[in-house]
Symmetry: C2
DNA sequence: AACAATAATAGTAACGATTACTGTGATTAA
DNA sequence: TTAATCACAGTAATCGTTACTATTATTGTT
């Protein structure tokens, strides 16, 4: 495995992921980092997002509607997708609950369960407010 | 909303989804239905899979590695993705557990949670067998 | 500080999955 | 049987992502 070399672009991508709670798509990361590196390439963004995901410094989140999202929070946690506005939000369950779900699943399952990720669906508070006006 | 008309192609797609437990990709559905309708179009398969998903007769499953999978089982249940062989398997939790997770999540969340889907990761029993030989 | 080795980049082309378009054929209700 | 319209096959276009290549940046060594 080749040694990892520092790059300012990767650092900028990491910082953006760390500071945002938006679960941006690769393109959204690109548009942001472009402000600091006007001629960064979209391929560079993808390569680094995948690299960060591989070394455990980012998480890739698949949703049924469109491209993957990326998250700088790597501790186990879950997500909520609003059916109305499409926003992806963090949703924390306490550690115990997370582990319980995995244990419960393991009882009904014939292999080894290492982790899990739950995507919740519904309507976010912002959309509820708007539709009740 | 336009009225739905019967089509033999859609019926064939539905039957395939109902009889398989493979969580096929759109392309896999295409290849299968092609046996019965040799000149069915891939676009027709996509259109019908999305239609069935919209009317609640199929489920679309997003995974972090590649294209979406489709499932004819529409009752709430979860899935397991084997990190070794990439197979996607059904994983059932009892109803009570499913609802408990949603309720638990609702306590920590500000919107309305209607449903959830958990993807478990790990190693399936087949891969465990193979690597222990 | 200069060098050599090599990882990372920008830019662009290619790719796979999915959707959109168009003219033709099938289904439906009258 | 007809008229309306939905669904189709075939194809082109789009979107998200990856691969390629020549150049630039980083790193360890003199």
């Amino acid at each position: 495995m080749a040694a990892l070399k520092y790059s300012r672009q990767r650092e900028s991508i990491k910082h953006f992921l760390a500071e945002t709670k938006d679960h941006p798509t690769a393109d959204a990361v690109y548009l942001h980092v472009k402000k600091e590196f006007p001629n960064i390439s979209l391929g560079t963004v993808y390569r680094n997002l995948n690299l960060l995901t591989d070394i455990g410094e980012a998480v890739k989140i698949a949703t049924p509607d469109g491209g993957d999202r990326f998250d700088g929070r790597v501790e186990p946690h879950n997500h909520f997708l609003c059916k109305k506005c499409g926003r992806l939000l963090d949703l924390d369950l306490d550690m115990r609950s997370l582990e319980e779900v995995n244990q419960l699943a393991a009882e009904n399952f014939d292999g080894i369960i290492e982790s899990s990720s739950t995507l919740f669906y519904g309507e976010c508070s912002d959309c509820i407010k708007k539709s009740s006006q």
